[in-house]
């Protein structure tokens, strides 16, 4: 089975936040317009660098996410590139209106780094596992929503969103994730990566669910099913062309995300397919429930997010063709 830009076997595991920090440290040294704002959030390598070398470019507003986002908007209004850092649940959950009104409405150059997003912030439980962020944020005009899959893609995404002048939400998962990609991964905002080629069905995955989706591709290959795998790292604007090509060439789609399928990646893909090229779409993701504490493995099993569940959804969707 041909795979593109994928390490065989997967490389070391690393958190997306660590990879994000590695990239931004480099960029911050080159670009004095970069400012970083924290809502009493662990600062990582970027924060340490700024504390030592650029203290006037670092602001920590304390536990006050509304003020965090709007203060960043004010700094962007003055020409800065403002990166905000807090948990995804509180960025979206407590500062939705600030993201909408103060950042996106005026196309301000704020990068909202949503740390520990998604269902798989396992130990923390339902209060902290944001599953509605994709649905909520993709309804906001002007805002880009980026969801990388591993350390390589995270670093490339950070470079791309820094270069891009405008509002961006960057969705980072909590657990260390294996390195999937080789450094020659091409990264273009709004352009899905075809990770595996195939014509029988397409799996469209985002973020931390990519390794499980690759495993599902292998399971299916063993059964003679050639699955295409798209990494939809840019959830908005979604790569419509890649989605429609998948619908046309493979005739069935399974979406995979660690968030709610209601309005999430699954919703976004279904909207495009239904309007332009109706084909069956099965959605893997959280099905209208809150999360809970547990291990990653337990949660993946309970919320039907394993490679086995993905493969099962593929078998079902193929029957509907």
């Amino acid at each position: 089975m041909k795979r593109n830009f994928v390490m065989e076997p997967f490389g070391e595991s690393k958190t997306m936040y660590e990879a994000y920090n590695e990239a931004l440290v480099e960029l911050a040294k080159e670009n004095s317009d970069i400012v970083v704002l924290y809502g009493d959030f662990p600062r990582g390598a970027v924060g340490e660098l700024f504390e030592k070398e650029f203290p006037d470019r670092l602001v920590d507003v304390g536990i006050a996410e509304a003020n965090l986002i709007t203060t960043a908007a004010g700094m962007a209004g003055a020409g800065k590139i403002a990166f905000t850092h807090c948990h995804g649940i509180f960025a979206v959950g407590r500062a939705y209106n600030q993201i909408r009104q103060n950042v996106a409405f005026d196309w301000l150059n704020v990068k909202i780094v949503m740390c520990n997003s998604g269902m798989l912030w396992a130990f923390m439980g339902g209060s902290h596992q944001i599953i509605e962020d994709i649905a909520a944020l993709r309804a906001i005009p002007n805002l880009l929503l980026i969801s990388p899959a591993d350390q390589v893609e995270t670093r490339k995404a950070v470079r791309a969103i820094t270069k891009y002048e405008g509002p961006v939400a960057l969705r980072l998962a909590n657990p260390p994730t294996p390195t999937i990609y080789t450094e020659d991964l091409p990264f273009e905002l709004g352009k899905a990566v075809t990770v595996a080629d195939g014509d029988d069905v397409t799996i469209i995955a985002t973020g931390i669910m990519l390794p499980d989706s690759l495993q599902a591709v292998d399971i299916l290959a063993g059964e003679g099913v050639k699955a295409r795998l798209l990494d939809m790292h840019t959830i908005k604007p979604i790569d419509e062309e890649a989605v429609l090509k998948a619908a046309r060439e493979t005739g069935a789609i399974v979406t995979v995300e660690d968030s709610s399928v209601l309005g999430g990646l699954g919703g976004a893909v279904a909207e495009i397919v239904t309007e332009n090229r109706p084909v069956p779409v099965n959605r893997i993701g959280v099905r209208d429930r809150f999360g809970q504490s547990g291990t990653i493995a337990e949660l993946k099993e309970e919320y039907q997010l394993t490679a086995g569940h993905i493969a099962g959804a593929v078998r079902e969707v193929i029957k509907k063709k």
């Binding site: 006037d56 304390g62 203060t71 960043a72 700094m75």
Partner: protein, 274 residues
């Protein structure tokens, strides 16, 4: 502090123009925020036509002082001040609030001279804080000053106090909050809704250099603004006691918050302002 009588007279004349143009805008638009526009008119006038460093010919001049009107529904006097200063043609007033108009029902940054898109209360001070902190980066003295006008009812919003805490913590002394303390909010008197009175002590307790003034007395307004410049190390709050609908005696102290203008009201206003 004594100010030149001619200066005070000129500012009073400007404020009268702003109030008159506000009435014309509300008439053209069909409705508007008369009470809060009139209560802040003298503060806006003092800032725009005396205290602020700005250039209507170059609205994005990097060194300009910023005026963030957090109570952005009271946009009419702000538009009137910008039009009067020459940021755009006054003929735009006629399309205020209409489909396709540049002058929307709440301020938007696309309008030359408008720094902040308001409409969601309680957020402007945070935005002003960000602008003020950006002015300090890499400089021994800030590149510009930031002035933020808030409503008193607006201070119900928790985010105001998040910004108040952060500004005091970082000693952002190029930031001046001016509270248009007209004692009314949308549906009632401030004290009958969630009482914030006494206002000035709250800001002082949070670490701000806070004073209270008569928000319609130019000597007091200008003195407070100048004193803010002379007091380093703290952000500044000016609690301006104002009168809702100030400028047309028949309207004063009434809560004409968001209202339509009847022909009688228009005639009454123009008899004083026209």
């Amino acid at each position: 502090m004594a100010y030149d009588e001619k200066l005070i007279a000129a500012l009073k004349s400007k404020a009268k123009t702003l109030r008159r143009d506000t009435i014309e805008m509300i008439k053209a638009g069909g409705a508007g925020w008369l009470g809060g526009s009139f209560s802040q008119a003298d503060i806006i006038t003092a800032l725009m036509f005396h205290h602020l460093k700005h250039d209507p010919g170059n609205p994005k001049w990097e060194e300009r002082d910023r005026l963030i009107v957090s109570k952005a529904h009271c946009c009419e006097t702000v538009y009137a001040a910008l039009g009067e200063a020459g940021y755009f043609d006054k003929k735009e007033y006629r399309s205020y609030g209409k489909f396709g108009a540049v002058l929307q029902a709440h301020t938007e940054r696309i309008v030359p001279g408008i720094e902040y898109s308001g409409g969601s209360l309680g957020q402007g001070l945070s935005f002003a804080l960000g602008e003020a902190m950006a002015a300090r980066i890499g400089r021994p003295t800030p590149l510009y000053r930031v002035f933020c006008i808030l409503g008193d009812g607006e201070c119900n919003e928790g985010q105001v106090w998040e910004a108040v805490m952060a500004a005091a913590h970082y000693k952002v002394d190029n930031l001046v909050a001016i509270i248009d303390h007209n004692k009314f909010q949308s549906g009632s008197k401030v004290e009958d809704r969630i009482n914030l009175i006494p206002m000035v002590e709250k800001w002082q307790t949070f670490g701000w250099n806070a004073v209270e003034i008569d928000g319609h007395n130019y000597t007091e307004i200008l003195t407070a603004l100048e004193n803010a410049d002379k007091t380093p190390g703290q952000p500044h709050a000016i609690v301006a006691h104002t009168v809702k609908c100030k400028g047309v005696p028949a309207f004063e102290h009434k809560n004409l918050h968001f209202c339509k203008l009847t022909d009688d009201m228009y005639a009454e206003a123009m008899a004083v302002l026209g």
